[in-house]
């Protein structure tokens, strides 16, 4: 059997035998490529920064994030931080906003205020 043979004329047994011969010519099938295990050290450090940990308090809910952000602003304003210390919230994620906030407002205060706003389970 070659590339242009009419395989419709072959019986099933002849066809299987011909395939076996072809496999011998080609060689063994290469082993499936091992999937690259994600290196633990390269796994995204989801809680590595205070901002990421505060975002995690909202448990992935965008509604809770929105509420937490607004309540956090209210609490910090009541503690005497001036309006100018707060970055604008538009066009940035909650985490990015927190990173910017904590350059002006002490991170300890932001973290404590955020954890106090989330009900303890």
């Amino acid at each position: 059997m070659n590339l242009w043979s009419d395989i419709s004329t072959l019986t099933k047994e002849q066809f299987v035998a011909a395939l076996g011969q072809l496999e011998e010519k080609v060689g063994p099938k290469p082993a499936a490529r091992a999937t690259k295990a994600k290196s633990a050290s390269k796994a995204k450090a989801k809680l590595d920064t205070p901002a990421a940990r505060i975002v995690a308090l909202a448990g992935g809910s965008s509604v809770l994030e929105r509420d937490l952000q607004r309540n956090l602003v209210t609490v910090l304003l009541q503690r005497g931080y001036p309006q100018d210390d707060f970055p604008k919230a538009a066009d940035k994620s909650f985490e990015a906003w927190l990173e910017e906030l904590m350059r002006r407002v002490p991170s300890a205060d932001v973290m404590e205020a955020a954890t106090s706003l989330v009900p303890k389970t």
């Binding site: 633990a40 796994a43 350059r103």
Partner: protein, 314 residues
Amino acid sequence: MAPIKPVMAFLTMKGGVGKTTLAANLTRAMADIEKRKILLIDADAQCNLSQLFYEADDLDAVSTRTIYDALNGHKIMKPADLKRQIYKNSQNGSEIDFICGSFETFALAVNPSGLIERQTSERFRAFIQDAQRDYDIVAIDTNPSATMITMHALDVANFLVAPISFDKYSMRGVHLITSVLSPKYGWQKNPERVRVVPNRIKRPTTEAEQRKLFDAENRIRHAFPDLERSIVPNYIRQSAIVSNEARQVGFLADQRVPNREHLISLLNDFEQVAIDLLATQRKAFGDAQKDKGASGSAIQRAFASIFGEPMVRH
């Protein structure tokens, strides 16, 4: 009225938590972030901070002018008489001057008479008041025990930085300082005047380890609620670079190490904590008007400005 300037005491009740390394490298990080003129004082009779900046042979040479001279010299000393510049940032103009420690301060602490104690206390207070005129920040590294000079440092300080590891004993030491001493030093009750810095924290490599670390932090917060607003959520990570074996003389930022990436990561840790310190000091020592909390219409205006929408009352 002249603004009050921070006098930071680096203090722990438990040795070996990295207080001296923290004192040196946080002040450097602060100087690199914002223009500051800082006076760093080694008030520990063990002179660890002095040994961090000078080789043993050089230490003998610089020991002609030390903090001991400010406490017990025959002449009244001013900071300018004893300081040595150890850092200048040519980009932002920050400077760090250093006053060496002396083993002789130990002699003052052993069986001091009431007269010596009063005299050294008054001299140290006057010395630090002079320093506050010349510098934006005064930082004092102290001995981790209640020696006379440590108490003098607390007498003049108005800001406390205490490193901890995430264990209750470490935190209890800080709680002891603030609860036992706060009747005498009222400012210690103010969370804006105390900074508790998690130091030498093992770097997690998985999310599970990170969550465990965050849980450890939360347990500490819950166990010491009066210090919650003082605990800095940025950690200084454990690193072989700062081990005694590997340590080179000088600031970490100036070290020559094979693993530069590791050093940069550690310097970033110090930078994040320094950002918190600078922001806290702006609040604690800033304009009195800013300390008054916003209320009512001021909050609503701020809200509209920050979020671009009015505040919704529930």
